[in-house]
């Protein structure tokens, strides 16, 4: 694994030395652009294993990369596609995926459509969460953008209506996105992994369903100040196999689960002035599901928020810090309710993660950066909702606090 990572990194570095400009060529007299990126991380934690890696020993199983091609077919029509692959501990496992692929048609600046597999616009960073080179931190606040739940919200197969509406000289600009489609989780994502590693293991073979929502953001007349709100609704259906924990003698049988309610609300604001940037977001996700073939139910209420600030102290050095607050309650019913007590006390470490982060970003050049980051976490939130800490990765049990050192480098062209 280390050798494979080293080879990949070497290839990327060589490619970067050869040319870090976007590759452009003409096809049918139309300009075609190719862009790409690659990142490599290393994580060491004081106690608990984190993010499905063996981080207590130090782990470099943290690699991702992608490449895209785009073409302006006509003045109004653009097409493009991106392939993405990652290996994050036990997630991804080098299985490439079609990250996005769509056609985009612009009727007016205030009315455009795109269809295909489309990145989902939620909050400030959802559609750009894979691209560490675009922001200050090695890891985005995991209370809102958990690496292991990437599959659930990152993209939908369907379509978007979107546009920018100027509100006049003194009122700023309103940008909207309305979308609908289908979410389909990878088998190598966090949710199937969490179920495989849970106290009642399930081999989830398929998970997903319809997903629709909207985002509205206001670029206020005060330069650099943005405010917005997002909403998503979805219907998630899971199928697989499991051994009933109440009757192991039955052997492996088909499994299904169905979300009666699954939605998230997100509110956000951002202010940037010169080399200073301040961000804050709040997200609430609520899931009410029928589980284990209708024998059980679970209601999960997940709330997260963060505040972050970053400041460029020199041309190549940026410093930043954030506080990320995550809490979750879960109430079980049916057979699950007989076995697992409700988890409603968010002051307990198993129901929260409070993460204080300090970070430094060094830009070696315009295309290559290195980040050093310290995380100081209170709690491990090992509930059914994937949030970085899994009992299966920590067989000896959890310690209440975890400190982590994250080193990450990224290239993009």
């Amino acid at each position: 694994m280390y050798r494979r990572t080293a080879v990949l990194l070497s290839i990327c570095l060589c490619a970067a030395r050869l040319s870090l400009q976007a590759q452009e060529f003409k096809l049918f007299d139309r300009e075609v652009q190719i862009h790409g990126f690659a990142t490599q991380g290393f994580v060491y934690t004081s106690d608990n294993n984190w993010l499905t890696m063996k981080t207590a020993d130090g782990s470099a199983a943290f690699t991702d990369f992608g490449a895209n091609v785009s073409m302006q077919v006509t003045e109004r029509l653009r097409i493009g596609a991106q392939v993405y692959d990652r290996n994050l501990g036990n997630l991804g496992e080098w299985h490439p995926s079609l990250d996005w692929a769509f056609a985009d048609y612009r009727f007016k600046p205030w009315f455009r459509i795109r269809g295909g597999k489309v990145k989902t616009v939620i909050g400030i960073y959802n559609d750009a969460q894979d691209y560490e080179f675009l922001n200050m931190f090695a890891l985005l606040p995991q209370s809102i953008y958990p690496l292991d739940m990437r599959d659930a919200n990152i993209a939908h197969s369907g379509g978007d209506l979107y546009g920018d509406v100027p509100l006049g000289h003194r009122s700023g600009t309103l940008s909207y996105t309305v979308y609908g489609g289908e979410r389909r989780d990878s088998y190598y994502g966090g949710y199937p992994y969490a179920l495989r590693k849970s106290a009642a293991p399930v081999d989830l073979m398929s998970s997903g369903g319809p997903q629709y929502g909207a985002d509205l953001r206001w670029q206020t007349p005060l330069p650099g100040l943005l405010a917005g709100v997002s909403r998503m609704n979805q219907h998630d259906e899971g199928k697989g196999t499991f051994v009933p924990f109440w009757n192991p003698g039955a052997g492996r049988i088909p499994y299904w689960a169905d979300a009666k309610q699954y939605w998230l609300n997100q509110f956000y604001g951002q202010y940037s002035k010169g080399v200073l940037r301040l961000d804050s977001e709040y997200r609430r996700t609520y899931i009410d599901a029928v589980d284990f073939n209708g024998t059980s139910s679970a209601q999960a209420d997940v709330r997260g928020w963060y505040v972050w600030g970053s400041y460029r102290v020199a041309k190549r050095l940026q410093l930043g810090s954030y506080y990320s607050h995550y809490s979750m309650t879960t109430v079980y019913g049916g057979i699950l309710g007989m076995v697992f007590p409700p988890r409603v006390d968010t002051s307990r470490p198993e129901n929260h993660i409070y993460d204080k982060v300090v970070s430094a970003r060094i830009d070696l050049n315009r295309f290559w950066n290195v980040k050093l980051e310290g995380h100081f976490m209170d709690g491990y939130g090992d509930g059914p909702f994937p949030d970085g800490f899994y009992p299966g990765d920590n067989p000896a049990g959890f310690k209440p606090n975890t400190n982590a050192l994250v080193v990450r480098t990224g290239l993009s062209f």
């Binding site: 003045e75 691209y131 920018d164 000289h169 940037s272």
Partner: protein, 228 residues
């Protein structure tokens, strides 16, 4: 014919109006295929942020950037209100989320002029000192409220016979107040021969502009040429 009539107006607006072709240290240039003669600061921002790819008259435009340098820095400061790092991140966000292509980035003013000259719809920015060849300069007005009102009906002034016969020429400058319905509400002489000015004001009071959201003011200049 229509263009000929508008030319003096555009020239006057460019010389004396609230627009300026050379905002600060930056000149906005465009390929001759771009029909517009003027562009607002907010249009420049939305074109270079790739929020729109056409101007108000429907002309397709594609932004061209310079790679670094004082003109680039001045352009970012005056029109986009962000530094180069933030702009590059913005473009890369568009590229990697599939929302847009990276704009053309060239290394010198000369390259920008050459590219804009040969590329239909191209719009860029250069130093005012650079030699322009095969491109047009767009006059920039600061905000939509400053946009010149379109002149719908123009009455030519009568040349006072006594001045014309004595070969007395000159240009008068007028401040024109236009009501929201487009009618000229008031005309004030700012400079020039008072007799020519009186003739010009008499004619301008009969002009009709396009209706607007509110009363606006503009400056116009009217040349009087007695000939040989």
């Amino acid at each position: 014919m229509k263009n000929q009539r508008l030319l003096p107006l555009v020239a006057a607006v460019m010389m004396f109006g609230s627009v300026h072709a050379l905002a600060g240290n930056v000149r906005i240039i465009a390929n001759p295929s771009v029909r517009a003669e003027t562009i607002s600061a907010s249009e420049i921002k939305s074109v270079f942020l790739k929020e729109r790819n056409s101007l108000g008259d429907g002309t397709h435009v594609e932004p061209v950037l310079s790679k670094g340098g004082p003109v680039h820095a001045a352009f970012l400061r005056e029109y986009l209100g962000q530094n180069d790092d933030a702009l590059q991140n913005y473009y890369r966000t568009l590229v990697f989320t599939g929302k847009g292509l990276m704009p053309k980035i060239l290394h010198s003013d000369e390259e920008v002029v050459a590219y804009v000259a040969k590329t239909r719809g191209a719009i860029g920015y250069v130093s005012p000192a650079v030699t322009l060849d095969g491109v047009k300069t767009l006059a920039v007005y600061e905000a939509e409220k400053d946009a010149p009102r379109k002149l719908m009906a123009r009455v030519e002034p009568e040349y006072p016979a006594v001045l014309q016969s004595n070969h007395i020429s000159g240009t008068v400058r007028l401040k024109v107040t236009i009501a929201s319905n487009g009618k000229v509400e008031d005309v004030e002489l700012l400079g020039g021969n008072p007799i020519l000015g009186e003739a010009a004001m008499t004619a301008v009071r009969k002009w009709v502009y396009a209706a607007g959201r509110s009363r606006t003011q503009t400056e116009v200049s009217i040349p009087f040429d007695a000939g040989g």
